[in-house]
Symmetry: C2
Subunit: 581 residues, 2 copies
């Protein structure tokens, strides 16, 4: 590659850093996913970035703030040694860690602010001690002790939070749930449910269900149905407490549709919901606890539905519409068609379609030429892709109905290959961020929930704000669809490495999401990042309900304290935004 | 008919009382539904009852406790006149009533205990005054005033509660929501949602949606999808606060799947959820309020999803299996088949099948003979009936898949006619109770929620208890299905007119439902009737969550006080039952 670029200077392609990060370095923490997996912007994206960001090849010759340095700072644990001794007594010596690297490695999630801080060696918040519980009893003892001693308790699952949800802003302990609290407790093929400890990782759960025949003597293979983009580095506990959604949620449902029951250890005792599929026995305990993001207690066990693993029944499709309006009307009609829902389903706006065609290898192919010939113009046309699932005839019929509706809205069928291209990148796009960050480029996303009535206004105005910054890419898509609305995703890319500049831009986007009536999150959750907007969105009286629950479960405010969900956010930190409604 | 019975004395058929109840009589209150609609047990059911209850024609010659007398009792309102004056000031003279008949007519629901008490002229609990609010502002003023003055507030919707949910055990005011608080607030065809006032009746909502073209200029007709047996005398508010389910819930979902947003007036202010289809913005406000059964506040507005009205796509079916096990395995496989769900869906156990065949006119027909010939024996065989809905090809495919699975489990297809027979009676079966009650016969139901793992144990043991009483019919069916379980319905009929005898029997059934691990209700709710069992079912810590919410919303305990949901139930009234789990 570098040989080639020497010969043709105009074909310069950056020398991306694709080496395992040095041991104990900041980069080893900020890096997404596998230490040995990488993903560079391809040549077409590279070209687009240069054009859009007004950059030259020279700007990609020197890397910056790579975080290759060994983690090193002077912030000794503030927690009294007697407490640490107590934790050692509960968990054993080896399951209590206080070294700097371990503490920093569970302090941040994976939002842009986290990555930027790590690149800049900004260590703001740390747990005093990292604990590795191995069973429910460990967690009960830890929560009881911390409640007595008023020690803050944070929980770290997969570490993929993009809302500063895991950040221990008040110090104290962080429970790292993955290493030792990840077992299967119960598998019921008859109920089609599996009960697991909260530290179970997404891929491990899927592997277990795929192998149910050999592991449990089941009749067939199953799937969990929940595949967020962060899938490979996410945990069942994290899915649940944040109200997450997988990329196939249009068919399988959001995590609240998949979770059948939960168990939490709270300062006032264990909370456990039953395993009946539905009840009329008062408010839903499950729905009170889901979305509490660690502020009411520690989620220990989750019983999840699972589904038949039938990839052979998938029908992949993609369609290109002449314009955004046609695409939006078509997906709404599909979701209201009462023939079942597709599984993966994604409608990209003109800008994302344009970028996507380069990324998925459609641009400049015969399909692209044909599209242009037929009047599907770049910059106006929009791409719908996805696949159907389920029982064979069901899946085929959903495909057929989608085809019919898209055809009625003037779409051109562009085969299932585009979807295959998207599938290849669906879990590894986050790897792009390291390579981009090395050249001072920011890539981040925000998402919100809309209904069909307010969707277009939210789309237009948030996008207008995003694009008001020069030299900025703003790609928008809808995914996670419902008959009544959808999730709306904004992906923005720019040359930006100043933390405050980034935050100002991000806050502006969130202000606009709120101003035009969207819900602040469909599946990322609130954490500490979006917390200042929560009260203005859900309302003061509604926020007081959350605070009443918080006082009940956690009278000493030890569970994920410091602003999570806006529960203990000082009034001057709450965005006083007047929504348009 | 009576001429015929004179000729052939063995064909005696009772002279059912099919006249409009006298004005202002107890019977006019206890009678189900329309004053001029009646339904007598048909001759086959009459014969079965005589056999089972060990009765003769002579027992059906004299009626008892018919409640024909004019409502008359001496329980003047206890509320100070100044309060009543205040309500008159808020609502106007004509919307405040204190006469005995009006007060009694909103005091009870329609459970057996209610009907028995009315037949016996037992007036235990009454509101002091009945109010007819006409708008949200009326309700705000009433709740504010009652909260200041600590006056209990009860809400009466359709009046079909079977849990003593509406009973004003502490006196005070009852808001009768139907007459004046029943308007459409918003219709959005794009969102497929309608916002209505809580007093809107089921049939009116359905009529409005069926006529959306002429009423709102919509493109087509729609349906609400929610048809509880009480449909004709139910209200949207009642559906919502009790977590109700319609008979077609397997396809359309329970009310919590249909409700998109709600607004409540509580003593601490208005609580309103947003109209986005899904959120990740903390615990679900909707799911905290749904199931609160009037104990947190007054539900004023509900935004519901609606669906395309496509009765032409229905495929009706019925199948007979050789035994209960085959039927149960088949329905589980259907629900886990991932081809979509049927709409109406009902699997009757051997006893209900036997009775049902008489009621739906199958017994002694050629179908019956053929069944017997092929080894589907009465007393063992079970009936599955229902229909599919949705888009045409979807509906057909669900039908085809059901057919395939039933066939694999050895079922015989018995056409859609049986379903048609069931549909005729689906909303008017409750009318049977007046005719039966006139001869001292009790007909009541209890329902619970099970998962597939505990279903058979619950079924066998609850049924064993029911049948331990001699001369008692106990029919059981499953309806409202999920991939993880179902709702289990027990219908019991016996000669029983003593209130205490009835209560002892009912309590025994509920003890057994709880003992074998079912959830105490799938869709009737808890009310005051099931409240003593709630804490043992959901657990003490979970109950304390409800109590914390109650303290928050209603610090003066004015909202539906007196044991509803077990919130202010004295400890000695809580059933101290050790569940088997």
């Amino acid at each position: 590659m570098s040989l080639f670029s020497k010969k043709k200077p105009s074909d310069f392609y950056p020398d991306w850093y694709h080496e395992e990060a040095p041991k104990d370095s900041y980069r080893s923490i900020l890096k997404w996913g596998s230490p040995t997996e990488f993903k560079a912007p391809n040549r077409k994206l590279y070209k687009l970035m240069k054009e859009t960001f007004d950059m030259t090849d020279d700007d990609f010759k020197v890397k910056q703030e790579m975080g290759l340095e060994k983690v090193d700072f002077d912030m000794p644990p503030k927690l009294d040694e007697k407490h640490i001794a107590k934790f050692r007594e509960i968990l054993g010596e080896e399951n209590v860690k206080t070294d700097n690297y371990t503490r920093l490695s569970v302090a941040y999630g994976k939002t842009m602010v986290d990555l930027m801080r790590l690149r800049k060696h900004i260590v703001e918040n740390l747990p005093d001690v990292v604990l590795y519980p191995g069973c429910r009893e460990d967690i009960i003892k830890i929560v009881e002790y911390c409640n007595e001693e008023k020690i803050p308790v944070y929980v770290y699952g997969g570490g993929s939070s993009v809302t500063r949800g895991v950040e221990p802003v008040c110090g104290g302990v962080t429970l790292d749930m993955r290493p030792r609290f990840n077992k299967v407790i119960k598998f019921s093929e008859r109920n089609q449910t599996i009960t697991v400890e909260a530290g179970m990782s997404g891929p491990k759960l899927e592997e277990i269900l795929n192998n149910a025949v050999s592991l449990f003597g089941a009749k067939r293979a199953y799937t969990c149905g929940h595949f967020p983009q962060s899938f490979e580095y996410s945990s069942v506990g994290g899915w649940t407490v944040t109200r997450g959604a997988g990329q196939n949620s249009t068919y399988y449902g959001k995590i609240e549709d998949i979770v059948i029951s939960q168990e939490y250890v709270t300062p006032v005792g264990i909370i456990k919901s039953d395993e009946c599929p539905r009840n009329a026995t008062g408010p839903s305990i499950d729905q009170i606890m889901m979305g509490s993001e660690g502020t009411f207690g520690v989620l220990t066990h989750v019983t999840l539905r699972f589904f038949k693993y039938m990839p052979e029944n998938r029908c992949r499709f993609s369609f290109v519409f002449k314009d955004w309006d046609s695409g939006v009307n078509a997906v709404r009609e599909i979701m209201q068609g009462e023939f079942g829902f597709p599984s993966a389903f994604r409608l990209s706006d003109p800008e994302e379609t344009s970028v996507g065609f380069r990324l998925y290898g459609v641009a400049d192919t015969p399909i692209d030429s044909l599209l242009k010939l037929r009047g599907y113009e770049d910059g106006k046309r929009v791409l719908l892709l996805g696949f159907t699932e389920g029982e064979k005839a069901f899946s085929k019929n959903v495909f057929r109905q989608i085809w019919k509706i898209c055809h009625n809205y003037g779409a051109m069928y562009t085969t299932g290959l585009v979807t295959k291209g998207w599938e290849k990148g669906r879990f590894n796009d986050p790897y792009l961020r390291e390579d981009m960050g090395d050249y001072g480029l920011m890539l981040d996303t925000l998402e919100c929930s809309v209904n069909w009535d307010n969707f277009m206004e939210v789309y237009e105005n948030v996008r207008r704000y995003c694009k008001s910054r020069p030299n900025t890419i703003c790609m928008t898509h809808m995914s996670h669809f419902y008959p009544q609305g959808a999730n709306l995703y904004f992906i923005f890319e720019a040359k930006m490495s100043d933390l405050q500049e980034y935050l100002d831009y991000q806050y502006g986007i969130m202000d606009n999401i709120q101003k035009y009536g969207a819900s602040m999150s469909h599946h990322h959750g609130i954490g500490k990042m979006t917390a200042p907007w929560l009260e203005a969105q859900i309302g003061h009286n509604e926020m007081e309900v959350y605070r009443a629950l918080k006082r009940h479960f956690d009278p000493n405010n030890i569970m994920n304290p410091g602003g999570t969900l806006g529960l203990d956010l000082p009034e001057d930190k709450r965005r006083d935004f007047i929504t348009k409604k």
